[in-house]
Assembly symmetry: C2
C-alpha cells in the first residue's frame, strides 16, 4: 500500500484530483500493473486520511480517463495504455536501427510480408503509365468517398464473383487503417471487445488506444476456445470480436467451418459484431483447407470484413478494403474521411488495372508456388534441427511458424531474441502478441518470407545453439 501514499499539496487542486493524478502516474510508470486491483475505498481513505467520497471521486475520474475499470461487485482495477512497452520499444528500435544493407547480413525471421524480390516492378510500372496516359490529372485528384469506383468494381468482380454491390466496398489505406477506422466508428471508452490470445499487436494497440476493455480468449487449433468465449459473452455486453480467419497472426491457426458457423450464430444471439481481418488467405498450401471467409457465411450482417493487399502484394502500396454491415457504413465512412480523407488515387487506379489485366492472379499463383516450397523446406528443417526443443503446429499456409519452447529449456523468448540478435538472427518473441507482459514468453514466431533456404538452415542452427546453451 506504500506506493499509494502521497503528500497533499496545499493548493486549490481538490484532493480527489491529486489522488487520481498520483495513481495515474503509478500506472504509467509501472508501479501499478495493468489489471491490478486498486485498494478498496475504505482502505485507501483510511490510509490517506480523507473521507470515502474523495476516493470514490478519484476512482471515477480514473475511469473517465480510461485508467481504471470498475467491475461490478468486485472493485476497481487499473488499466494501462500500453503494456510490455519497454520490450516492444526495444524490439522495434532494434529493427529500425538496422539499415537495409546491414539487415541483409542477418537471418531475418521477423518479416511479415511477401518479399520485394518477387515483385513485378516492370509490369507495375507499365500499369502506372497506362493509368496516367488514360486518366491524366484525374488519376491524382480525390476519389469518390468510397474509393475509386473502378477498383471497387474489380474487387467485386474478381474476388467476390459479383455477389456484392460496388457500394458495399470501402477502400482503405491498408488493413491497419481498416482496424483503426472501425475502432473509431464503433468503439468508445470502456466498451468491451474480445480478441484472440495471442493476437496481432497492431490491433491490440488500436483497441488500447480507444481505451476499451479487452478480453482475451485462447486460440486452439481450429479457432478460439468457444467455452471460454461464451463464458465471457454471458457475463459481459461485448461489442466486437476481432479475429484473423486464416493463418492467424502469430499462431498460424485457421478457423474450422463449424467453428465459424457457431461464432456467427453467437454474434446474432449475443448481439456483437465480428471484425474479420483476412490478411493472408491467398497463401493456402494445404489442400484440405477450404477458403470461406466469415463474411461469405454471414447471413445476418454481423461481419466487418477487412482485407489487406499489402501483406501479399507490396506493403508500400498501402491499399486494402473493408465491407461493413449496412448499419455501420455511414459512421465507418465518416471515420475514414476524418482519418485521411482518401487513399492515394493513383495507387488505387494502378491496382485496379493490375487486377483487371489478370496480373494479380498471375502474381499470386507464382508467389504461392515459391512460398509453398519454402514453407515445406522450413517445416522439414524445424523438425530436423529444433525437434527436441520446440513444439509447433503446421499452419498449412501463410508466411510463418509459431514455436513453443520446450519446458526443458530454461530460456524465454525475450532472452532468445537478444542472444540470437548477437549471433545475427532476428525473431519475434511471443510477448508482443499479448495484452499482459510476461505472457507468451515461451513462444516465438519465425517468418520465412524474407529468408532464403540457405539462410533458413543457418538461422535455425543458431537458434538451436541458443536454446541448447542454457
Amino acid at each position: 500500500m506504500d506506493k499509494y501514499n502521497l503528500n497533499f499539496k496545499l493548493d486549490e487542486v481538490p484532493k480527489y484530483i491529486q489522488i487520481s493524478k498520483h495513481i495515474k502516474k503509478l500506472i504509467d510508470s509501472d508501479f501499478i500493473e495493468d489489471g491490478e486491483k486498486l485498494p478498496s475505498i475504505r482502505k485507501l481513505s483510511d490510509l490517506l486520511g480523507v473521507n470515502n467520497d474523495t476516493i470514490i471521486n478519484a476512482y471515477k475520474r480514473l475511469q473517465v480517463e480510461g485508467y481504471a475499470v470498475q467491475k461490478v461487485g468486485s472493485g476497481t482495477y487499473a488499466k494501462r495504455k500500453e503494456i510490455s512497452r519497454n520490450f516492444k520499444k526495444d524490439y522495434s528500435d532494434t529493427l529500425k536501427k538496422l539499415s537495409p544493407s546491414i539487415l541483409n547480413q542477418y537471418v531475418d525471421f521477423t518479416g511479415e510480408t511477401a518479399s520485394s524480390e518477387f515483385f513485378p516492378v516492370s509490369t507495375f510500372k507499365m500499369v502506372i503509365n497506362e493509368v496516367l496516359d488514360r486518366d491524366g490529372a484525374e488519376a491524382l485528384t480525390y476519389q469518390e468517398l468510397l474509393g475509386y469506383e473502378g477498383l471497387r468494381n474489380n474487387i467485386n468482380k474478381y474476388f467476390w464473383n459479383n455477389k456484392l454491390s460496388t457500394e458495399d466496398v470501402l477502400i482503405v489505406s491498408g488493413a491497419q487503417q481498416g482496424i483503426d477506422i472501425v475502432s473509431k466508428a464503433l468503439l468508445n471508452v470502456n466498451d468491451n471487445i474480445i480478441v484472440e490470445k495471442p493476437t496481432y499487436s497492431g490491433a491490440l494497440s488500436v483497441f488500447k488506444g480507444r481505451r476499451t476493455n479487452i478480453y482475451e480468449v485462447p486460440m486452439l487449433q481450429d479457432g478460439i476456445d468457444l467455452n471460454q468465449f461464451e463464458k465471457i459473452l454471458k457475463k459481459n455486453k461485448i461489442k466486437c470480436f476481432y479475429l484473423m480467419s486464416y493463418f492467424q497472426n502469430p499462431t498460424g491457426m485457421t478457423y474450422s467451418l463449424s467453428k465459424k458457423k457457431e461464432i456467427l450464430d453467437m454474434a446474432e444471439y449475443y448481439d456483437f459484431y465480428i471484425i474479420e481481418d483476412d490478411y493472408l488467405s491467398e497463401l493456402i498450401y494445404d489442400e484440405n483447407i477450404e477458403y470461406k471467409s466469415f463474411k461469405a457465411m454471414d447471413d445476418s450482417d454481423r461481419v466487418i470484413y477487412i482485407k489487406s493487399f499489402s501483406k501479399i502484394f507490396l506493403p508500400g502500396i498501402r491499399i486494402g478494403y473493408l465491407i461493413a454491415p449496412v448499419k455501420f457504413r455511414e459512421s465507418i465512412q465518416n471515420s475514414k474521411v476524418n482519418s485521411d480523407i482518401s487513399t492515394s488515387s493513383l495507387m488505387q487506379r494502378a491496382l485496379s488495372l493490375y487486377i483487371e489485366k489478370g496480373f494479380w492472379r498471375e502474381h499470386i499463383t507464382s508467389l504461392k508456388d515459391i512460398y509453398a516450397n519454402r514453407y515445406k523446406y522450413m517445416e522439414d528443417k524445424i523438425m530436423q534441427i529444433l525437434c527436441d526443443k520446440v513444439c509447433f503446429n503446421s499452419p498449412g499456409g501463410g508466411l510463418n511458424f509459431y514455436l513453443q519452447i520446450d519446458s526443458s529449456s530454461k530460456v524465454n523468448s525475450i532472452d532468445l531474441f537478444y542472444k540470437c540478435k548477437e549471433s545475427g538472427v532476428l525473431l519475434t518473441p511471443g510477448v508482443l502478441f499479448h495484452k499482459y507482459p510476461k505472457e507468451g514468453e515461451e513462444y516465438f514466431r519465425l517468418g520465412f518470407s524474407q529468408v532464403s533456404n540457405e539462410k533458413i538452415e543457418k538461422g535455425l542452427n543458431i537458434i538451436n545453439n541458443m536454446l541448447k546453451s542454457e
Copy 2:
C-alpha cells in the same frame, strides 16, 4: 422535463444504466441539444422517483461515455458526438451525388484545392518512372518509420533551409491524418481543446470523435480574440489550441506577427500546445503578408506543425508532414504506425524527386500567378455584383472568400445553398465550420480554385438574385 421520463424495465439492468441509456438516446436523436444543461440531480430524481445516487451514477456514466461534461459549480451538460449533422450529411451527399460530368455544368464554389487542370501530369509521370527505374521494388516496400529519408531531407533543405534535422520530420498521409494522429496521441476523453471560431470542419470532427471538450474563440482580422482566449486559459486547463496560421479556413484571416508571439508566450505560461495547420501559405498574393510560421518562431517547443501538400499540389497524392515537440515524438510516431503503418512509399519518393529537381518551386510559382489573377478578378466581381448584400475581408491569399450576408437580407446560408443548387451554383454555408448548429448561418464560403473567370461572374450573378429574391 417530459422527455426525461421513462418506464423502468423490470429486469436486472440497474436503474442508473437505464437512465443513462435513455438520456444517451435523447442526445443522439436531437431531443437534447449539444451543450444543453441536463436537469439538476434533485429535479430528475424527483421526476423519476429514484434517489439522488441513482442520478449521480447515471450522469457519471454519461461522462465516462463522453455524452456529458460536468462543469464545476454549474451542473452537467449534454455533449453530442456530431453536430449539425443532418445538414452536413445533406451537403456532402449533394456533392457526392454529382458525377464529374454533371459537376462541370455547375458553378462549383465548394472547391478547396488547386485545380487539376494545372497539374503537370507529364512531369510527374517522368518523375515516377525515374523513381521506379532507380529504386525498383524498393520504391514499393515499407519505409522507415518516419517516412522516406530522401523526402525528409528535401523537406528540410528546400522548405526549412536545413534548420531542422531529418529526424524532426514525420511524413503523414495528408494534413487530415496529421490532425488525427496528433489527436490520438495527445487528446483523451474530456481533455480541453481550443479552436478558432469558425474552424475547419474536418478538425472539429476529429476532436469530437476523441470526445474532448471544445472551446471556441472568435476569429478577428489578425487572428483569434486574445481576451476571450486568455479568459478560457485562466479558467481551464487547456491541452491544445488548433489553428490555421495563414488564410484560415473558412475566414481567410492571417495571424499577425505580434499575435503569434503573444500566443506562443501564452502557450509557455499556461502550458498548452499549439497545433499549427499550415495548409495554404504558399499562395500569398498580398506583398504585405510575410511568411513566418508559428513553428519558425517557436523557441520553447510548443508547436505541433502540420503541413499539407495536397491542397496546393494534388489531393490524390495524400502526403503531408508533421514536426512535433520532442516530448511527443514517440507517441505521435506510434499513433501514425497504428493508423496506417506508413504512407505510400512510391508517392513519397516521387514527390521527393519532384522537389529535388526544382519542379515543385516552378509549379508553385506558376500556380501563384494564375490564382493571384483569379483572386483579383473574384474580389472585383464580388464588390461589383454583391456589394450591397454581403460584407467581407480580403484575405490577401489562399483560394477562397468568406462572405457575411447583410442583415437586410432575410435568407440564411443554408437556404441560400439549396436555392443556389437549384440554379446550378454550389457554395459552402458557414454552419459547417461551427461546433453548434445554427451558428454561422449568416456566412458562406466561395472557393475559386475550380472556377473560371467566366463562371465566377455567372455564379455571383445567380447568388445575387437569390439574395435579392427574399
